[in-house]
Symmetry: C2
Subunit: 423 residues, 2 copies
């Protein structure tokens, strides 16, 4: 079957199913989620055997151990999926809530109702867990979804998607509400991102290459982020121990995540005191230091190394590795200018005891998450209390930052009248 025809069919069925999902009662959606969680436990053996096929093929084609690790379903990863689905079932249903219902001088009442977006196109790499997370979030928010995972995870995703469809059917919901694109062909991704009549938003989850390719071709709006070049700025008025603890956590708690810190900015007035303290911790944890000339001089005096000289490209690089770039700046304004020039509008933090500096940083730094005296590693749906997240957005329209259930919904106006007409 050709891709166009295949994808159009998926799109049409998704659009039809989305109408039924939009009016589905909360109880039915939760029932489907509970069914899916139970089935994941019950079918754990079968899922792992489907996954074993994918892993075997991945080993044959020489996939790296790190990628095979991501691909693999274990007892532990399945238990995490189950817990995730049950958490989403326990979250309040965002759909149908009416806010700000005010009476206008004309007599009409005007409010806003939270409604599902419609059809979500999810495009992701070889992490089968995303199949379940995304299904559960889309389902709870009353959306239909078309899932396009990596070809490397096709057997696993097929087995998982069958489970999801069975759960939907068991709850009296359309089994088509969550569909998997069951072909590894790349053309399917492009077609999905072009079908504006059937797909309301694309959520890509993967590396920069995937997102950039989609930006080049997509006509459907996207909820996306490209980079997490996150900064910590140690202000003149910083508490040194907070600075040390937060820098340590921001850089070393995990390396390969988008909310890890990549660049340290430090005010000139405190650099001689702060840099040796912070960098000693990093050196002990084998973090590579890429430094500006002023930092270089300070660290040399303190005898902290090895260090290399940072180049322009360092300020624009998301290392996702035990590497950090370090720059001394004049103060708050220079720090914010650096962040706006080189940052990716993901998450940026200031360490300061000065209220006015904290307030200026909060107001003026134009990033999805802006923090005072806290580790950027907190940026995420669970830490923010949103529940699970379907992705992160660095864009300014619609959802910004971690995107949870609410980001998968929209607000429409509702007007309650009693026969009023416009004068």
């Amino acid at each position: 079957m050709d891709i166009d025809h295949l994808m159009t069919g998926l799109g049409q069925r998704a659009r039809v199913a989305s109408r039924a999902m939009a009016r589905a009662p909360t109880a039915a959606k939760n029932c489907a989620l509970e069914w899916i969680a139970d089935a994941l436990e019950r079918e754990s053996e079968a899922l792992r055997s489907a996954n074993a096929h994918d892993c075997a093929r991945a080993r044959e084609v020489g996939l790296s151990p790190a990628l095979i690790d991501r691909l693999m379903l274990t007892e532990h990863t399945i238990a995490k999926m189950v817990a995730g689905v049950r958490q989403i079932a326990a979250l309040p249903d965002p759909v149908g809530a009416i806010s700000h219902l005010n009476i206008r001088p004309s007599g009409i009442q005007v409010g806003q109702m939270r409604v599902p977006i419609g059809v979500i196109g999810m495009i992701y790499e070889a992490r089968p867990g995303v199949t379940i997370d995304a299904s559960a979030l889309c389902l709870k928010a009353g959306n239909a979804a078309i899932l396009r995972g990596s070809g490397q995870a096709l057997e696993s995703n097929r087995a998982l998607a069958r489970l999801v469809s069975a759960g939907l059917a068991a709850a009296g919901l359309p089994a088509d509400a969550i569909q998997l694109v069951a072909t590894p062909e790349r053309a399917a991704v492009e077609k999905l991102a072009m079908m504006t009549q059937y797909v309301d938003v694309i959520v890509p989850r993967g590396g920069r290459g995937l997102v950039e390719a989609l930006i080049a071709c997509a006509r459907v709006p996207m909820i996306k982020h490209l980079d997490g070049i996150c900064h910590v700025y140690i202000d003149d008025a910083a508490d040194l121990e907070k600075a040390r603890a937060i820098c340590d956590n921001a850089k070393t708690q995990r390396f390969g995540v988008c909310n890890a810190m990549e660049t340290l900015l430090v005010a000139r007035g405190i650099a001689a005191a702060a840099l040796p303290l912070v960098c000693r911790t990093w050196r002990d944890k084998k973090v590579e230091l890429r430094v500006c000339p002023e930092s270089e001089a300070i660290l040399a005096r303190a005898g902290i190394g090895p260090r290399t000289r940072a180049v322009e490209a360092d300020w624009r690089t998301e290392y996702l590795a035990p590497i950090v770039s370090i720059r001394v700046v004049d103060g708050l304004d220079a720090a914010m200018a650096h962040i706006h020039t080189y940052g990716s509008a993901h998450t940026d933090a200031i360490i300061t005891e000065q209220h006015a500096h904290a307030m200026r940083f909060l107001r003026e730094v134009d990033s999805a998450s802006v923090m005072v005296n806290a580790s950027p590693r907190f940026a995420g749906g669970f830490e923010y209390g949103l529940g699970a997240e379907i992705g992160i957005s660095n864009d300014k329209l619609h959802a910004r930052g971690p995107v949870g259930l609410e980001g998968l919904t929209s607000l429409k106006y509702v007007v309650l009248g009693h026969g009023e007409v416009r004068q």
Copy 2:
């Protein structure tokens, strides 16, 4: 100067100005708005003389009287601009408000701060009033803007934009925050819609042709609507007098507006009673009736004409004229199916006394505005209490329906810590 270079310059200056606007105090923004309102009054003569040049040229090239009417600045239209600007000055400043600031188990406080979007690209036709409306809204919401009006209004827009820049400067704000694209070349529009690094959102205001051309080329996200194919559905359980009054108002209060009704759907059970009542009023006001076979039979029996037979294309047409299409449907489900098939997700209304039908229509109709027993003509920023609107959105992401100050802003996450780190 070539267009690329010209537009890049505008973009760079807008981006720089947007930073200053984002941190501008409310008092400064209101001071600029008051200055602009005063100057519009003071310079009324000069503005009308600039406008006279545009109108003379428009007559020379044979522009239709209706379009020249739109283009013309009169004492009345200038007074309306002044009142509009003063109203926007009086609206609360949306920027900086922090909502939902909750303490999380980790100790951090997480909330959302309303912030400007950044740089707005406004593309519109030969209505000089939009230059002032859009400037005032973007300014109040703390954004920079690049305005691209029609070449036909170039002299008028230049004079108005000079006033706006002077007002910004008088209030200590960057004069570059609002810039006019002072060339009539079409390539400037395309370039504006492509500059994702400098422009955060495009708001087109104009006919279907303009918006479709932009959809084909834009890479910057848009807040837009294409059509207003608005429906009124008279339910089995409708109050006939409400139905008559609302249908009359929805179709005839104004014809050329996007929230006027284009299609009447009527439940079979009430059609014989409702259609003659509604259509007699329309006939008396010379509204052309395009009817389905069942409506035809009912109207023939009632002796109401002239009527023509509706064809498939009628259900998809925004007449913007004294024409209405009429269709008898089985009931609520068939009406909603018709709306989802042929509608444009703008504004749709049900006339019913049945609570369950009203609630189903509200919940299930997937349009920007959904109404019960009220005229769709109410869909708009002023009637909804939002103040002035920069445009209307039929899309589901970000703003939906009338877009006012809030739609020109975004929410970022703010995190207040005390040195917390992630475990």
